[in-house]
Symmetry: C2
Subunit: 446 residues, 2 copies
C-alpha cells in the first residue's frame, strides 16, 4: 500500500552525520590554514571533465574506475567524474599556466569518485586535499612539502606520526647501473608489496614479473632495506654506490641530506622524518622525492598523506614542461583513524553551539534573540530553542543530547528581577546572573 521510497545511500557512498562532519570541517579548516600559511593558494575545478581529458591513452587500470556521466537530455557519455585531483590540476595547469606564472603553488579540496568494490574504509566517493608546487625542480619545494606535512598533522592535533621519505633517484640510479632502466615500473610495483609479503616473495615476484636475475632483485632489496638512523641510512646508501658512482643516486642522496638539514633548522622534531629507502609508491609517475605519512598509534591503516616529485605534470595537454612536487591528505582515511583513536576532535557533540537559550515564554522571543545576538557578537554560538510548546525538561534533554555546555533560562520571575539563569549542563549547576554581566560570564564559562 505504501509508495514510500526507502531512504538509503548507494553502496560505497555515505552520509556525514553531524559529529563526524564537525570533525571533517575542522580537519579541512586546519589543512586550509596550514596550506595558506605556506602561500599555497586555492583553486577549484569541476567534478565532471570531458572523457578525453580524464582517460589515459587506453587500457589504463584507472580508466575502468571512471564513472561516466550521461548528458542530461541524451544518452551520450562524453564526460566523467574525476577520480583524483591530480588529473584536473594537470588540465588546469596546461590551460592557465601562462596567466598564472611559475612557480605556482596551489591546494584543492573536494570529493573524487572511483567505481571500486566498496570495502572496509574504501568508498566510491571520498575526499582528497592536495597541495602542489609546480614549475620548479628546486629541492626547496621538496623540503617544504615535508615541512607542510609536519605542520598539517601537528595542526590537526597529532603528535605521534612519522613522515617517511625516499627519493626515486636512488633506485633509478641502481637500475641504470645494472642496465635495467626500463624495468622500473614492475620492480616498483613489487617493491611496494614489501611490508605486506616480505622480502623473499618480493624477490621471487621481481624475477618473475620484471624478468630480472635473482642477484639484481637482491641488489634492489638490499638498497631498499638499508636501515638505521637517518644519517646512517644515507651514509650506507652512499657506500652502496661507492664502487660504481652514479649521478642520479648521488643527487638523490644530496637532496635527502638537505631535506634533513633544513627540516632541523626549521625546527621540525627529528623523529618526525624517517629516511626509508623501501617506500616505493607503486606509481610510475613519481621521479624524485617521495613521501608517506604514518600514524604511530595506527600504522596498519596505511599512509594518510602521500606524494612525491614528478618530472612533468601536464604532458598530455601541453608541450610546456611542468615539473613539480606535492602530496595529498587522505581525509576519509584520516577521519576513520581519528574515530578509531578517539581523537579529541571527535567530541561526540553534534552541535557547533555552546549555549542553548531555553524558549520559556513565547512572548519573550525578542528578548531571547536580543541576548543571543549579543552573545553571537562576542563569538559565542547560541541556539534559541525554536519550539515554545515544549516543556523545559524536554529542552534540557535536547541540550544534553547534543552536547551544549550551557543552558540559559529566563521566565517571568527572572525578567522581573533582571537576571538570567545560567545552567552548566555537565556540572548541573545553576547560577542567576544579572543581564548586564551575562555575556561576560557566559564567555568565561564556555
Amino acid at each position: 500500500m505504501s509508495n514510500l521510497i526507502t531512504p538509503r545511500t548507494l553502496s560505497g557512498f555515505r552520509d556525514y552525520l553531524p559529529s563526524v562532519m564537525l570533525a571533517r570541517e575542522e580537519v579541512l579548516r586546519r589543512a586550509r590554514e596550514v596550506y595558506r600559511s605556506y602561500g599555497f593558494t586555492p583553486i577549484d575545478t569541476p567534478a565532471c571533465e570531458s572523457l578525453d581529458v580524464l582517460l589515459g591513452k587506453g587500457g589504463d587500470e584507472s580508466d575502468k574506475l571512471v564513472y561516466r556521466v550521461l548528458s542530461a537530455r541524451g544518452d551520450k557519455a562524453e564526460m566523467g567524474l574525476r577520480f583524483d585531483l591530480t588529473v584536473p590540476f594537470a588540465r588546469f595547469s596546461a590551460q592557465y599556466i601562462n596567466e598564472l606564472g611559475t612557480p605556482f603553488k596551489r591546494y584543492a579540496m573536494g570529493p573524487v569518485w572511483r567505481g571500486e568494490r566498496p570495502g572496509q574504509g574504501r568508498y566510491r566517493e571520498f575526499w582528497q586535499c592536495d597541495f602542489d608546487t609546480i614549475g620548479t625542480t628546486s629541492n626547496a619545494a621538496d623540503i617544504e612539502t615535508a615541512l607542510v606535512i609536519n605542520d598539517l598533522f601537528t595542526a590537526i592535533g597529532f603528535d605521534k606520526f612519522e613522515i617517511r621519505v625516499n627519493n626515486r633517484l636512488l633506485l633509478n640510479g641502481l637500475l641504470e647501473l645494472n642496465g635495467l632502466a626500463g624495468k622500473a615500473e614492475p620492480l616498483l610495483r613489487s617493491l611496494d608489496k614489501l611490508p605486506k609479503i616480505g622480502r623473499e616473495k618480493v624477490a621471487e615476484e621481481m624475477v618473475k614479473e620484471a624478468e630480472v636475475t635473482a642477484l639484481q632483485a637482491n641488489a634492489v632489496l638490499d638498497l631498499a632495506e638499508t636501515t638505521g638512523a637517518n644519517a646512517d641510512v644515507l651514509n650506507k646508501a652512499e657506500a652502496f654506490f661507492s664502487a660504481s658512482p652514479n649521478e642520479k643516486a648521488a643527487e638523490g642522496i644530496r637532496r635527502l641530506r638537505e631535506l634533513l638539514t633544513v627540516a632541523k633548522a626549521a625546527g621540525v622534531p627529528e623523529e618526525r622524518i624517517k629516511i626509508d629507502l623501501s617506500i616505493a609508491r607503486g606509481l610510475d609517475y613519481y621521479t624524485g622525492t617521495i613521501y608517506e605519512t604514518f600514524l604511530t598509534d595506527l600504522p596498519g591503516i596505511g599512509s594518510v598523506c602521500s606524494g612525491g616529485r614528478y618530472d612533468n605534470l601536464a604532458s598530455k595537454y601541453t608541450k610546456q614542461v611542468l615539473p613539480g612536487v606535492g602530496a595529498s591528505l587522505g581525509v576519509d582515511r584520516l577521519i576513520a583513524a581519528m574515530e578509531e583513536l578517539k581523537h579529541p576532535l571527535l567530541t561526540g557533540q553534534t552541535t557547533p553551539a555552546q549555549v542553548l537559550i531555553v524558549n520559556f515564554d513565547a512572548a519573550r522571543l525578542g528578548d531571547y534573540q536580543r541576548i543571543a545576538r549579543a552573545l553571537r557578537a562576542a563569538c559565542v554560538n547560541v541556539e534559541v530553542y525554536p519550539d515554545t510548546t515544549k516543556k523545559i525538561g524536554t529542552q534540557f534533554a535536547y541540550a544534553e543530547k547534543r552536547g551544549f555546555k550551557l543552558a540559559v533560562v529566563a521566565g517571568p520571575a527572572e525578567f522581573e528581577q533582571g537576571v538570567w539563569k545560567v545552567k552548566d549542563l555537565a556540572k548541573r549547576e545553576e547560577t542567576a546572573v544579572p543581564e548586564a554581566e551575562l555575556v561576560e560570564r557566559i564567555k568565561q564559562q564556555v
Copy 2:
C-alpha cells in the same frame, strides 16, 4: 603531429582561479560561521543518489535536468547527480531523524548539477549553501531564518540589501475564500512573473492558464500589490480580509507581524526587512513564510538567498511528518554580483600569503624556513620562494604580481649584520630590521 588533448572545461562548467576562489572560500567560511552561531550543524551527503530517490513521480520538469551516472564497469544508469541540496536532505532526514531527534537544524554546502542550457551566470555545476530547521512549525524558526539571512549578508560585507518576506497563507486564504484552493500552483507561477511582465499580462495569463475570472485574478493582484511601509502593508492586508475573515490569512498576518517585532528587538535594522506580498517563489512546495534577498545596488541579478516554510519535507521517503523552514544562499550568483560590484573581498590578490621570503642564497634555506616558521607561528602567512636560480628582480616581480604585501631579503651582508631587509612592495620602502625584532615588526606591517 601533436597528440595533445586540448585542455578545457565542458560547456556550463568552470574553473575557479585563485583570486575568485579566495573570495569563494571566504564567503563560505563566513556563511559557516553565521550558521554555526545559530546552532545549525553541518551534514554532508553524496553527490550521487539512487535515481528513485532523486527523481519525482515522473514527468517533473526537474527530472529532465538530472545527470545520470553509469555504473563504473557497466552501462546501467541507476544513479544520478543531485540537482539541489533539498532532496538529499529530505532523504537524509527520513533515514536518520529518529537518531537525530527534532527539532533538527542543519546546514550543507556543496555543488549541485543541472543539465540546463548554459547562459550568462547560469552554470551546469554551481554551489548551494543551505540551512534548515525541521521538526517544528514554530514561527520562532521562521523569524530566525530572517535573522540568519541578515547576519549572513552583513558578515559577507554587505550593508545595502533587503530581505523581502511574504507568507503563502495570505494568498492561500484568499484562494480559499474564492473557492480557488486547487489553483494555487498556476496562479503562483503567473504571479512570480509580476516584476518581469507587469500586472496586465499576469492577469491575462492567470485567466488563461489558471482558468480564473478576471475579477479573481485582480483580487490576487490587488493583495499582492499592496504597498507601503511594513506596518501599513499588514494593516491593509488585514483590512483586505476584514469583510470575510479567513483563519489562514489571519495566521499569515500574525506571523509576519511577529517577525517584524522580534527582528526589531533583536537589533536588525528596520530597512533590512520588507514585507512584500507579491513575492511568490514559483514553487508549490512552500506553504508559509517565504524569503527573497536582493542586493540594493544590483537588484537585477535576482534573489541571492531564497527559501521558505514547507509543511512536509520528506513525504516521499517516510510517513513521519517533518515541517520545516530554511533558505539557500546562491553562492555563484552572489560571487558574480560581488565581481560586478567590486566587492572588497575580491582583492585581486592571488596568494593567501602576506610575506614572500626571497630565496637569495641557497645555502641559507634553513634560515629562511626558520624565520618563516616563526612568522607562521605568529599567524602570518609566509612563502619562501622555492627557486634559488632566479634573480631577485624576478622574485620581486613574482611577489608584486600575486599581491604579497612584504618581501623579506637576507643575503651574506645581512646575515653578517644579523638583520633582515623588509620591503613594503606597495610603498617600495625598504628597512633593515634586527632578527630579534623581525616577527613583531612584520606583524605590525601586514
